[in-house]
Symmetry: C2
Subunit: 238 residues, 2 copies
């Protein structure tokens, strides 16, 4: 195994973005690829760690950059300021993540036909919006993603969808679960929802320890969702 | 690998039951065990096939007999007549499946401390009721199980619970999903629900092909739920 890591610049119009690319150079390519969409704090070490784990499993992993310039927030206020404009303009959000998809497809190590995407919290919403845009991507997997509808024109969803969800997540209550089930069924999606009881937001993040904010690490749900992810990637990319 | 199969008689009061027991005799025991609870048609070949697959994976698998004498229905009417009394008397149902748990614990090949249970359709309800009874079993897994509450006194649920569910199952509509999530959360259960979109009842059964009755085989959900089951058994029994 020869894990390589590099920063890759790509553009969305005027905005220069900086992805973190990681793959096993000892494997015969081109490799199936997985986009990793960061949480509201930006393309952070958490996303890079997931990329390394996926590289170990044989995927070309690309931690994308929604904010441009590899920007990261350090406080709740900074994170909110970075995420807010995208939540308010979901068309721009879809355009930004589509630029990452185009970028990863152009990398020489990547098999452009075998690409999936995954994301955490805000990043979960980003990959769900990628699916909602009708993107030709094999699968998208959301970890404690926000489920709110994008308010844009409905398109047929071509990618398989796996949502992994803390049932007590205050940022994605049961009525939004019911709504997205209805929306994705109507869009013809091959979708799954794995809901974990007694689990709130950010359950994959060991640093999450804020019950009053609704963000708490839950090792059982972290392990179970990773197991589900690997099965899903195996299904859609092999 | 030396897969052994045998019929095992056990009792629930006056009723003599006949389980199908299957395990790999070449493995060093005692083995972790999995009870398999049949659908409404009785302890059939479908349950036996699942037992053989689990034996291959290293579990002592016991396809239990809810109806006694290994009885099987051949028509919808016969199945309804066999299942009906248990649906009407959930305390008797719990007693009957508990007898199977006691029986499997007494088998010399079985590690009595490492037992889980799984079931299909009516059998899914049976294993959920086993968990609801407060049984000391490591985990229960339900495939397109009926979700209806048992109306009995609430007890703390000690076993981990995995429900695999067709989201369009007419026998377990969204309101029952919401209700069981609430019930199991209140009972302190470590529960998961894996819901599959565009999927109805009986999705694991290749013979199910009756859309108007709401029973249709779905190979994707069959494979995905089996993957989830194996991860779950690994988690609770190893």
């Amino acid at each position: 195994m020869t894990i390589k890591e590099e920063l890759v610049n790509y553009r969305d119009g005027d905005v220069s973005c900086e992805g973190f690319f990681c793959y096993d150079a000892s494997r015969t390519g081109p490799l199936p690829a997985v986009l990793i969409s960061h949480d509201w704090s930006g393309r952070n070490e958490f996303a890079a760690r997931k990329a390394r784990r996926l590289a170990w499993h044989g995927y070309a992993a690309f931690a994308l950059d929604m904010y441009g310039g590899g920007k990261q927030g350090k406080t709740t206020e900074e994170n909110q300021a970075l995420m807010g404009p995208f939540m308010a303009d979901r068309a721009t959000l879809a355009k930004r993540i589509t630029a990452a998809l185009t970028a990863v497809r152009g990398l020489p190590q990547v098999d452009a036909k075998r690409v999936a995407a995954m994301g955490f919290c805000f990043g979960g919403l980003c990959v769900l919006d990628l699916a909602r845009s009708g993107a030709d991507v094999r699968g998208v997997a959301s970890f404690h993603g926000l489920l709110k509808p994008n308010g844009l024109e409905t398109k047929p969803i071509k990618s398989k969808v796996l949502m992994m969800h803390g049932y007590d997540d205050p940022m994605a209550p049961p009525e939004e679960v019911l709504a997205i089930a209805k929306e994705f069924t109507a869009a013809g999606a091959d979708w799954q929802m794995h809901a974990y009881g007694n689990t709130v937001h950010a359950f994959t993040n060991p640093a999450a320890a804020n019950p009053s904010f609704g963000t708490v690490y839950k090792p059982e749900a972290d392990r179970r969702s990773w197991h589900s992810l690997l099965g899903f990637l195996e299904e859609v990319l092999r």
